[in-house]
Symmetry: C2
Subunit: 153 residues, 2 copies
DNA sequence: CGCGCACTGTTGACCTGTCAACCGCACGGA
DNA sequence: TCCGTGCGGTTGACAGGTCAACAGTGCGCG
């Protein structure tokens, strides 16, 4: 860690990996958002929650929250807007008065069916450009960095 | 790339790379923010802008904005709070009445000196955990994905 | 010269994501 | 049974990032 040499020009590469990540993540989000707006008229958040509900159908918000890592408040708001759009239903659970049972409506399914192919094509395209091999590697590194992010400084 | 199998359970891995990125990026940011608060009492945004100013000393906001990829509005606000903290100065440019010339004050330098070692230790730690080899690979993949993020769908 | 155009920087509006406070309910132990 | 603790969900507050509108200035071209 040569504190003498002018680190100035190394900053971008050395201390800003996270910054690059942020940019990339944002670019990908923008791309996805456009896709979603064009093909399904839903926001990225709505889409993610919609998918999460679809995966664990008849689940409740806490399930979604835990499984997807979303903030429960965010899920609550997302579900609200999704129900307003008629894409999911949210009814009180018979067995637990606190819980809401979530269900994707036919309209919701329709949007998923309409959007999913494009979404898959997109990720396929990314995988193709990057290469399956590198993709696995990337995944592994992500895991390592996730762990590294937990260390205290 | 089996498009047949019930995709439902593959979502997390297949369509949510970006989501994972978001999580990782956020975890890293949280880590960095804590570090910054502890050792220099600056926010992550302030830190990034401070560094950017330090790199291109005597530059103007537009330089920072272009070079770092920050929104110019964000830079403007960041500079404002940094000047309020006395870490940078922002004076009108003699040669261009539109521009502000930015300069890191001794206090700003002091904070950089205080924080930078920890910051470097952190990235070094990450690099160590991940491995230099994988890090390079990771970098390459990032570039590829940045390109992939530009494609329209 | 004078005009349009591009650029600098400021500000306001908006969206996302996070955190915390809160209410109602479930559940287990005293 | 009753009470404490903890969970499910809602809501408000806040920070960060993006976009757009704007005023002021520089610059080049007719």
């Amino acid at each position: 860690m040569n504190m003498e040499t002018p680190e100035t020009l190394n900053f971008d590469q050395r201390t800003f990996i996270t910054f690059r990540l942020a940019k990339l993540q944002n670019a990908l989000n923008t791309q996805a958002s456009k896709l979603l707006k064009r093909h399904g008229n839903v926001t990225l958040t709505e889409w993610r929650i919609l998918i999460a509900i679809s995966v664990s159908d008849m689940g409740q918000m806490a399930d979604i929250s835990r499984h997807s890592g979303f903030d429960k408040g965010q899920v609550s708001r997302g579900v609200k807007s999704l129900t307003k759009k008629g894409l999911v239903t949210s009814v009180a659970d018979d067995e637990d008065a606190r819980a809401q049972v979530l269900h994707v409506t036919p309209d919701g399914k329709a949007i998923i069916d309409a959007v999913l192919p494009h979404m898959l094509a997109r990720t396929a395209r990314i995988e193709r450009d990057v290469g399956a091999e590198s993709m696995k590697h990337f995944d592994r590194v992500l895991t390592l960095m996730e762990d590294a992010a937990k260390v205290e400084f």
